[in-house]
Amino acid sequence: MDNAAPEDKIPDQLVRYLDGELTGSEKQDMEKKIAMDTALQQELENLQLAREAVRRFGLHRQVGEVRRLMLEEKQAPVKKMGQTRRFVRLSLAVAASILVVVLGIAGYNFYSLSASGVFADHYQVYEPGTVRDGGANETAIEKAYREKRYQEVTTIVPARPVTANELFLRGIAYLETGQPANGIASFQQVLARPEAGAILKEEAEYYLALAYIRDKDYDPALRLLHRIRNNPAHLYHSQVSGRFVKQVRLLKWK
């Protein structure tokens, strides 16, 4: 397209005009051409309609994804973590009070702080939702995960591209088998997938933060934890307490 004759460049330039990429004299020239050429005006309208179709389709898809996820939420059983969360929050509040009062205990806690300890405090293995159709449409990775065959989850290579959900389960399986670096790569891939839903991405963010902690890479862990803590609507907002963030900061300076 770069070596085309000037008249052949017009369709390409029209798309660039549509995309708002023309500036200055190029833009003015194009606007003059459009004003004088009804065929060009028609072509521009056709391109605008095509762009509108893409936007409408994208919006339909995004709303459809939310619809699907909310339906799953309604049908999924209550996660075990819901009850544990309250217990963990209560325990943290009590522990934080003791630490403030007794400096010696605080010092002891600082020196005994470890990445594996902080990870273990905040990690719980992810429990997938109940299989609604008796497992008929369950993939090999999903089945292996549900049956807790975590090593197998990390090695199964399906004949077609891995889905975002499978990547997420693989990430958890890597954490379960003591491979946080591989877990990090899996969760990062989930977050990079345009088709991954909002809930899956929020799950991936939290477990990615834990994987970074386990891998002793505290800066990206802190970035993620801050992001979760600053978003009250985040699925794991209540999991990321101020104390949790402080522990990771302390680990960084140790």
Binding site: L49, A50, A53, H60
Partner: protein, 201 residues
């Protein structure tokens, strides 16, 4: 506090208009309004699937209107969605040849204080045709066009996501995909006219 339990209209509209926290906003709309709007459909010859399909179209239309700055805010979001929901369902019933006479009479008596909803609703059938059309484009074209025109990613970002050789290759591919879609729409006057209505109101 559960997200969305007390969400001011102005804040919801502002976020939708800017495109920020979009999934959260869509979820909020679902939490706040789905139950009451679906009740209308299910109590007027529809089932749960109908209610879900209609509500999805209503949310799409509402978000589109807000982003095009055509939701004037003269009524509350709740009132506006109710109106969109009713119209969408009535149109669907008409399409199926099952009009609700009392509803039609009610609608004719209503003042037109917001955009004419008939030009902002795509309708289930047209939406299905649009989905099929986009599927015919193929996964690669669909992905590139969505990344650029829906997610507003730059050519550089698309290059990093899809691993093409260089930016010019991405540009060329995008151009070809857009032209292909343009041609397909030319052959589908219903979709073309619907997009025209949605674009120009």
């Amino acid at each position: 506090m559960e997200p969305g339990s007390n969400f001011p209209d102005a804040e919801l509209v502002a976020h939708i208009r800017s495109g920020s926290r979009m999934e959260e906003m869509i979820r909020t709309i679902y939490r706040l309004y789905f139950d009451s709007l679906s009740w209308y459909v299910m109590n007027n010859s529809g089932n749960l699937q109908d209610a879900e399909d209609v509500f999805q179209e209503v949310v799409v239309s509402f978000v589109d209107l807000v982003q095009k700055d055509r939701f004037r805010g003269e009524s509350s979001i709740k009132t506006f969605l109710y109106s969109l929901n009713r119209h969408t369902w009535l149109n669907e019933l008409k399409r199926r040849g099952r009009a609700l006479a009392r509803e039609e009479k009610y609608e004719r008596g209503q003042p037109q204080s917001q955009p004419d909803v008939n030009v902002v609703i795509a309708g289930r059938e047209t939406t299905n045709q649009l989905v099929k059309l986009m599927d015919l484009l193929g996964e690669t074209c669909k992905k590139i066009l969505l990344l650029f025109y829906y997610e507003n990613r730059s050519i550089t970002e698309i290059l990093e996501t899809l691993h093409y050789e260089n930016e010019q290759v991405v540009r060329n591919k995008k151009y070809k995909c857009l032209k292909q879609l343009e041609k397909m729409m030319d052959d589908n006057p219903v979709i073309r006219q619907t997009m025209k209505n949605l674009l120009h109101g």
